[in-house]
């Protein structure tokens, strides 16, 4: 049997935010606000002119505090019921937010350790496919030995680092231009 080829990606378009649609009321809440260690991850999505993108969607995916997933392809002991997924549409000023916890470090198949990180998908009108980036945590010693950060040119690495502020952790995303965020092919 010939294997089928994948279906192409298309833009999410400007009008994804329909009532009862993909923006769930609890979309930004990866964890309830009373979970120990819960904090707000927030930022602004900007385009190549530095203007806010008001019709974007940000999604995040991450491990739990111990670096566990509840998933059949994670061969380690599972984190029962953990679904570290969040989805938030950007508002008129390009802002998005999530309530989540800091994930634990993760082992890699090569025997290395990945520093705590959150995978991010960015979708918007004008984007024919998603782009993928990662949030890393500032002042995390494990960043210096993270195998993914190590491959990113040093002068661009800080685009992957959140910045602590009064609300929690700020992670701005620049799609293009000055301070362009590092995006990944996965």
């Amino acid at each position: 049997m010939r294997a089928p080829a994948t279906t192409p990606s298309q833009t999410v378009g400007p009008f994804y935010a329909l009532p009862q649609g993909i923006l769930w009321d609890d979309g930004p809440d990866v964890v309830p606000d009373d979970r120990e260690g819960a904090f707000v991850l927030h930022g602004v999505l900007r385009d190549g002119n530095g203007d806010p993108v008001p019709d974007g969607v940000i999604e995040i995916w991450q491990a739990d505090e111990q670096g566990r997933f509840d998933h059949p392809d994670d061969p380690r002991p599972e984190a029962s019921g953990w679904q570290g997924f969040g989805r938030c549409g950007t508002d008129g000023e390009g802002r998005f937010w999530f309530r989540t916890v800091k994930p634990g470090p993760l082992p890699t198949p090569d025997g290395e350790t990945e520093a705590p990180h959150i995978d991010v998908t960015v979708l918007a009108r004008g984007m024919l496919n998603r782009v993928v980036t990662r949030v890393y945590f500032p002042d995390e010693a494990a960043n210096s030995t993270d195998p993914v950060l190590a491959t990113v040119p040093a002068e661009r690495r800080d685009t992957l680092l959140g910045v602590s502020d009064e609300r929690g952790l700020r992670f701005d995303i620049r799609l293009q231009g000055d301070g362009e965020t590092v995006f990944f092919a996965v």
Binding site: M1, R2, A3, P4, A5, T7, P8, S9, Q10, T11, V12, G13, F15, Y16, A17, L18, P19, Q20, G21, W24, N49, D51, W61, A63, F69, H71, D73, D74, P75, R76, Q83, F85, L106, T108, P109, D110, G111, E114, H117, D119, T121, R125, G126, L128, N129, R130, V131, V132, R134, V148, T151, L175, Q176, E180, T181, V182, F183, F184, A185, V186
Partner: protein, 248 residues
């Protein structure tokens, strides 16, 4: 799933690249892409634990009638009632069971229930245009809706989007996430649509077009379109005695 023995004993699946299917992020004719594509090269992200896992969103995200966009209001929406169904597969041909499929669309007049939509076509008080369902144990999904209308947009002079339904798929892994659009066969607007044509390969474009299927229509009630969706699958393994099979 293809697995790889590793030094740490951690064995993870490996998803094949499917870059050839997708449109370039920088697609000149689609004007909104100009300021919204990265100019720096993408960095390589190995498929580690975060990438080969993903949200397994369950039935609790779907109400019993969420797959039927024609029963969400007191009356029935105007337009041509259709059934849209098919299978979610991966690129090895394996069905993707129990995965969330979300859709959204314009009404039969080509208008979205969205305050940003300025197309002077009527809203339909009986149509919101959103639905969701889970694939069954064989990867099948099914929606009941009305055929969306074409609508104008301002990309170029007299630009119209071909009729389409937006689809969102999760699969089982972060690597499989897909947002796409389903089109209808023989649409006369294809040739002038830069979003449809952003997919450079003709064969790949055809994979976004559904097929009219008389067999699954419901007589005197609804027409029917079939559309299979293929997500990234495991890296190809070479089979001996490979057999060609016609899919349709």
């Amino acid at each position: 799933m293809t697995v790889h023995e590793t030094r740490s004993g951690l064995i993870l699946p490996k998803y094949a690249s499917d870059d050839a299917s997708h449109p370039p992020l920088d697609s000149g004719e689609y004007r909104s892409s100009a300021l919204r594509h990265p100019k720096q090269p993408l960095q390589y992200l190995p498929q580690h634990l975060t990438e080969v896992t993903g949200p397994l969103l369950g039935q609790d995200r779907c109400g019993e009638l969420d797959h039927d966009l024609t029963v969400q209001h007191d009356g029935e929406p105007l337009g041509e009632r259709i059934i849209v169904s098919g299978k979610v597969l991966d690129s090895s041909g394996k069905p993707v069971p129990n995965t969330l499929v979300e859709i959204w669309q314009a009404n039969s007049a080509g208008r979205y229930l969205h305050q940003g939509d300025r197309h002077p076509a009527p809203l339909d008080p009986n149509f919101s245009g959103t639905g969701r369902c889970m694939t069954d144990s064989e990867g099948n999904y099914r929606f009941i809706t009305i055929k969306p209308g074409a609508y104008p947009w301002r990309n170029h002079d007299n630009a119209w989007r071909p009729a389409h339904i937006h689809f969102s798929l999760f699969g089982q892994a972060f690597t499989q996430r897909l947002i796409t659009q389903m089109y209808f066969p023989g649409d006369p607007l294809f040739y002038q649509d830069p979003i449809f044509n952003s997919v450079r390969d003709e064969k790949a474009r055809e994979r976004m077009v559904s097929r009219f299927d008389l067999d699954s229509t419901v007589p005197e009630w609804a027409l029917s379109y079939k559309w299979d969706i293929v997500l990234r699958g495991p890296e190809a393994t070479v089979f001996e005695d490979e057999e060609e099979e016609e899919d349709d």
